[in-house]
């Protein structure tokens, strides 16, 4: 918030929804999204790596037991759906998705105004804390999974097998049906990354907006502070459910899409 401007509801919300956009390589990049997501990824995977490096097959420490708990949770999910050699790629990818998305989502627990104030002191005017409330992040993840899906389709079934599937399923191999099959598959291929990414983005973005609206209300007076705080607490508790749930859903859809790429119809 630039000094001297009057604070209105619109400017408050706009301020909190503005990215720290920086020119980069002839385009624009959201520095806040990049910094937070990379820091979160390093914290999450760094912790796992640190524990994995000292992992013992004997009696595990509590730290290792926690890591193994998360590991087993992800591995069980993958094992339940994926029937190939999951340890080579799919399961670790799922773990990466789960840990990273969970931590990126978890940044939304931080009180926005306090965090913004602290960052403001450090310099940047605008800084959005939650990378998964940035559609770039969710699209990046979903499209990466999408390309992986196509890669595994071709790697497992061969280019011919994949093309055959594009034109001959789900309705059948009759030449009259090729067009319909293809259109159907195009819709599927378009809808997959959209639903994958927009579900995560929508949940986190909506959560952010509702917090902001509550804090706007809290600025209106005593009753606003009281009710804003009570509702804010309620929404925060609900948000604690949303954050791991969305990370879980995102991981599950990643596994499902990669599994579908491995199975021929």
């Amino acid at each position: 918030m630039a000094a001297g401007e009057s604070l209105t509801t619109t400017s408050y919300i706009q301020h909190h929804l503005s990215f720290l956009a920086e020119p980069f390589a002839g385009g624009v990049i959201h520095a806040d999204t990049m910094i937070t997501s990379i820091v979160m990824g390093i914290i999450g995977l760094g912790f796992f790596w640190w524990v994995a490096r000292g992992a013992t097959s004997g009696v595990p420490t509590r730290r290792q037991a926690f890591v193994e708990l998360v590991f087993d949770f992800v591995d069980d999910q993958v094992a339940g759906m994926f029937h190939g050699d999951r340890h080579k790629f799919v399961a670790p990818a799922a773990l990466t998705v789960f840990v990273w998305v969970l931590l990126m989502n978890a940044t939304s627990f931080l009180p926005v105004d306090w965090a913004a104030g602290a960052i403001h002191l450090a310099g940047p005017e605008e800084f959005r804390l939650t990378p998964t409330a940035d559609v770039n992040t969710t699209f990046a993840l979903a499209l990466s999974v999408w390309f992986l899906m196509i890669y595994f389709n071709i790697a497992v079934k061969g280019l011919g097998g994949w093309l055959h599937e594009l034109f001959c399923s789900p309705f059948g191999g009759n030449p009259l049906l090729w067009l319909f099959n293809f259109l159907f598959n195009v819709v599927e291929y378009v809808s997959k990354p959209l639903s994958h990414s927009l579900r995560l983005f929508g949940n986190l973005y909506a959560g952010e907006i509702i917090f902001l609206l509550l804090w706007v209300w809290a600025a209106t007076g005593v009753s606003g502070v009281v009710f804003g705080s009570i509702l804010g607490l309620g929404w925060a508790i609900f948000h604690i459910l949303i954050v791991p749930l969305q990370a879980y859903i995102f991981m599950m859809m990643t596994i499902v899409y990669l599994q579908m790429a491995h199975e021929s119809h």
Partner: protein
């Protein structure tokens, strides 16, 4: 909602993180868990084997005990039989000894009877000769009448 270079940068970040996890995080954790599972499985198998061999040992012990008991019974039986046979032998020996002693005693008695009888006979013969001497009032020539006297003594 603005799509920009962030998307590509995030995708690259994502792949780097996946690569890192595939390369450095997943294998050691998986290895540790798998190895522990193996250790636990081996431990359970060893415990099962141990309890099985304990059962086998119990069976073996019961067999050995039975055998030992049987042998003991056999030894006792043999000892009893031996005692009985010794007793029997002793009894037989004693019987034979008694029989022998009785026989020798009887033989001795018979001998003494015979000797007494001979002596008596000789004395009777002497008395008879002395009587006859007195009756005949003269000395009988013992040499001339010895045959007579012997005959007499044999008749008594």
């Amino acid at each position: 909602m603005s799509i920009n270079l962030t998307l590509i940068a995030q995708a690259i970040t994502f792949f780097v993180f996946i690569w890192f996890c595939v390369r450095f995080v997943w294998p050691p954790v998986l290895g540790a868990i798998e190895e522990r599972r193996k250790t636990i499985a081996e431990g359970l198998a060893a415990a099962e084997k141990g309890s099985k061999s304990l059962d086998e040992a119990k069976v073996q012990i019961a067999g050995l005990l039975d055998e030992a008991r049987g042998q003991a019974r056999q030894i006792i039986d043999q000892a009893n039989a031996r005692a009985t046979s010794i007793l029997e032998e002793a009894r037989t020996g004693a019987d034979q000894e008694r029989e022998r002693i009785i026989q020798s005693a009887q033989a001795e008695v018979q001998q003494q009877i015979n000797r007494a009888r001979d002596e008596l006979r000789t004395q009777v013969a002497g008395i008879a000769v002395a009587g006859a001497e007195k009756i005949l009032a003269r000395e009988i020539d013992p040499r001339a009448h010895q045959a007579l006297l012997d005959q007499l003594a044999a008749q008594i």
